[in-house]
């Protein structure tokens, strides 16, 4: 009974954590370049509504996902322009983005409320593997986006630590003056990183509306964007650790639903992810300090060449 329950939660935790993983991978990349984007919640919800709208209209889920990625990057472009070119305070600009996203999605989404999904993403079945007892359902019966997120996390990790791009990205976030003095185009790197962050947040939101829930509900991200911000710190800006964090939080979300029938107050359960966030932040901050793997040193600092 208990074992079954645990397996059930584990199996559900992976898809529940996938939108968080998309968002976190994006935010890790943006922050690694030195730009904090608190607009994740906004970009995710715009991604969600765009994906649902486009999928509903065209009947093609892949088009929906692509449109969501585009919408997320467009919003991110606003933040990039404000914080990199205009040197606006990154917190202010990011918060504005979240509010903009929530507002726009509510407006655009009005006519999709209560609409049924037109298509679904079928789970991948890997012959042989998917039919294994216990392991099969636990590892090999998810939808393709789950695997895409995992592959992206691994690729991103490799890119970040084992390639020229990775060195460039991390250097720009640690010391833009150093990178600039070596001819690295600091602005371009930061723009690209922030745009990629938007793309990933858009995909994360899209996953919620067309894969996970398959419906548009106003405000359906329900704080996922904020959990992404916390996860980025928990992950210590490392894509592989982001995976761990995202699935852990996915598990918390699942527990939230599973424990409800047991008579625990739903209000209390709704607080669970956020209580967990605070706990995780407290714990990981200690480790961040101990292991000297703090935030990118130039996080939130706009760069200008002639300033000292």
């Amino acid at each position: 009974m208990i074992v079954e329950f645990i397996l059930l939660v584990l199996k559900a935790a992976i898809p529940a954590g996938t939108p968080l993983l998309f968002g976190t991978l994006g935010e890790v990349t943006a922050e690694r370049s030195g730009v904090l984007n608190l607009g994740v919640e906004g970009m995710m919800i715009v991604g969600a509504v765009t994906a649902f709208g486009v999928t509903y209209t065209t009947g093609n889920i892949w088009l929906g996902l692509a449109a969501a990625a585009l919408a997320g990057s467009l919003l991110a472009l606003v933040h990039a322009f404000a914080s990199i070119t205009l040197r606006v305070n990154q917190v202010v600009s990011g918060l504005a983005l979240t509010m903009l996203g929530l507002g726009v999605s509510g407006l655009v989404g009005k006519r999709f409320i209560g609409m049924p999904p037109r298509t679904r993403l079928a789970p991948l079945t890997l012959p042989g593997l998917s039919d294994l007892p216990v392991i099969g359902p636990l590892f090999f019966r998810y939808d393709p986006m789950v695997y895409l997120a995992i592959i992206l996390a691994l690729v991103l990790w490799f890119m970040m630590y084992k390639t020229r791009w990775g060195i460039t990205l991390r250097s720009v976030g640690e010391s833009p003056a150093t990178a600039d003095a070596l001819g690295v185009p600091v602005f371009r790197v930061r723009y690209l990183a922030v745009l990629f962050g938007g793309l990933m947040a858009g995909l994360g939101g899209a996953y919620l509306s067309v894969v996970y829930t398959t419906a548009w509900i106003e405000g359906m991200t329900a704080g996922a964007g904020w959990i992404v911000i916390a996860l980025t710190i928990f992950a210590m800006w490392d894509p592989v650790r982001a995976m761990l964090g995202a699935y852990l939080f996915g598990g918390v979300r699942v527990l939230q639903y599973r424990l409800q029938p047991l008579g625990i107050s739903p209000n209390l359960l709704n607080m669970l992810p956020f209580i967990f966030t605070i706990l995780v932040l407290m714990l990981s901050t200690g480790e961040v300090i101990r292991r000297r793997v703090g935030a990118p040193a130039a996080l939130m600092q706009p760069y200008t060449r002639e300033e000292r």
């Binding site: 084992k162 020229r164 150093t178 003095a181 070596l182």
Partner: protein
């Protein structure tokens, strides 16, 4: 004047003007460097040396002026352009990513292989280690390296990019004497290989040790370009400062009074929680200067921080005028008249605040600067104007953010704040590091003046000349211990050198 487009000139800059808010940093500067020479660029703090070189390296855009590189007219819009022209620069504040490895720092921005780029760095590091003796561990992280090793990484970075014109901005200011000799050797080898070297400094000895020609800058203007062999120290100093410089300080015999600071068997840990100060005992009396000599990193920093309340000591006791003050917080020590001139200037100031605000950082919550919850800016500004005059701080105005001042002037602001109300105990750590002769002379005089007014002074310095010039007694620190305390008149370079290396210990007696 030779034709600027002559190819034997590696660099020719003409009529360069650069203005910053309130400062004319470069005032119609003309500067020429021959191919293959070692050219010293000499000037006081704030003379505009870094600014001129930042223009050549594309970090600053000049307001006026033209640049020729290797005989061709050049527009240098960014460091990328400069690199393409074969210019490399080792900046005054090293530009390194301190959490990254040496290899990662070296390959940053280079078109090496996309995957596993550090491999290329390893090859280069081996090559330059053989060719010029520039050896560093490619896997070490920058923050683990000494200043000298970090500098080697900077030089390697420039060489990998094919720089044949190499700018070194005050390369010796953070190095130990041994490292300086090594660096000068490396520079000579590079010049022999055909590199052109621009060597920025304000130390006259180095000009004579290394350069073929020297250009002197003063207040943003070129005052002379000379063949080094045809000039001498005194005339260069006069050119640089604009007046005669005293190389020997007037020092009256000390009149020590009562004991002000007594340290008994103090033990302090460093940042990694390893013992850094191991049972140090010493006393400093009113009206005397106790100098602490030693190679940096032998516990001096931890000792000083424990004495000013920035670091907890593990064992041992500290007394101020007979009162125990062990592990008291900075505020309490400040109120008892302890003043501190930190070695890292950034520690003593709030860089973004104005000169006037920095001058009251310690007293901002007291009359007359504060009235209730409010600051009285009329009083604060008057106070600032008085100190700016008295300590000759060169600043566009007291409202200028302190980070925009030159090094020497930043140090004057700290000194003004710390000494303006006659402290009981003055703790000065590396007070003149990075400063030019004029500023150094001024600051040393001020420290002597404080002593003569009856302040007890604890001076920590790596500069032996400074220690010998100022101290009344000299303590030598090695690996967290005091190797001995000598009266200044008994101290000679040889003995102190041996003690600094840990090769000699003089038994402690209170008589010393």
């Amino acid at each position: 004047m030779p034709n600027p487009s002559e190819p034997h000139l590696a660099v020719a800059m003409h009529g360069i003007v650069k203005r910053f808010p309130g400062v004319l940093a470069n005032d119609h500067i003309s500067f020429e460097v021959r191919a293959g020479e070692i050219h010293a660029l000499l000037g006081e703090n704030g003379a505009g040396k870094t600014t001129l070189m930042n223009i050549l390296y594309g970090i600053y855009q000049p307001d006026e002026g033209i640049i020729y590189v290797k005989g061709k007219r050049a527009t240098i819009r960014s460091p990328r352009d400069a690199i393409r022209l074969g210019i490399g620069m080792v900046h005054q504040q090293y530009r390194l990513v301190s959490t990254h490895t040496v290899a990662e720092n070296v390959v940053l921005g280079l078109p090496v292989s996309f995957f596993f780029p550090e491999r290329a760095a390893r090859r280069w590091l081996e090559e330059f280690s053989q060719k010029y003796g520039l050896s560093v561990d490619p896997n070490a992280r920058i923050w683990q390296l000494s200043a000298g090793e970090q500098q080697r990484v900077e030089i390697i970075k420039a060489l990998c990019r094919g720089a044949d014109i190499l700018i070194l901005d005050e390369p010796t200011s953070m190095l130990t004497p041994g490292e300086i000799d090594e660096l000068l050797g490396i520079i000579r080898r590079m010049a022999a290989e055909g590199h052109t070297i621009i060597f920025i400094t304000h130390k006259l000895d180095e000009v004579f040790a290394i350069s073929e020609r020297v250009t002197v800058l003063r207040q943003g203007k070129v005052v002379a370009t000379l063949e080094t062999a045809q000039t001498d120290k005194t005339s260069l100093a006069r050119l640089m400062v604009g007046r005669d410089v005293i190389f020997r300080l007037e020092k009256k015999p000390a009149q020590p009074g009562e004991v002000v600071l007594r340290v008994e068997a103090l033990h302090v840990l460093d940042d990694r929680r390893l013992p850094a100060v191991k049972g140090v005992s010493l006393t400093v009396s009113a009206g005397e200067i106790l100098g602490i000599a030693g190679v940096a990193g032998n516990g001096q920093r931890e000792l000083v921080e424990a004495l000013v309340g920035l670091r907890k000591s593990q064992r041992g006791r500290v007394f101020l005028k007979g009162q125990e003050v062990t592990n008291q917080p900075p505020r309490a020590l400040i109120e008892q008249g302890v003043c501190y001139i930190p070695g890292e200037r950034a520690m003593g100031l709030a860089p973004g605040l104005s000169v006037a605000e920095n001058l009251i950082l310690k007293d901002y919550c007291q009359e007359p600067f504060a009235r209730g919850a409010f600051l009285d800016y009329a009083v604060i500004n008057a106070h600032a104007n008085r100190l700016v005059d008295q300590y000759s701080v060169t600043t566009p105005s007291p409202a200028t953010p302190v980070k925009l001042l030159s090094g020497g002037n930043i140090q004057r602001v700290i000194l003004a704040r710390e000494t303006c109300q006659s402290p009981t105990l003055l703790i000065a750590a590396y007070p003149t590091s990075g400063l030019d002769v004029g500023a150094t002379e001024y600051i040393r005089q001020l420290i002597l003046q404080q002593r003569d007014q009856g302040t007890a002074v604890l001076l920590v310095s790596e500069d032996l000349e400074e220690i010998l010039q100022l101290s009344d007694r000299i303590a030598v620190m090695f690996e967290g211990e005091i190797m001995g305390i000598l009266p200044a008149h008994q101290a000679d370079l040889g003995t102190i050198g041996m003690m600094m290396a840990g090769a000699q210990r003089i038994p402690m007696s209170e008589a010393a």
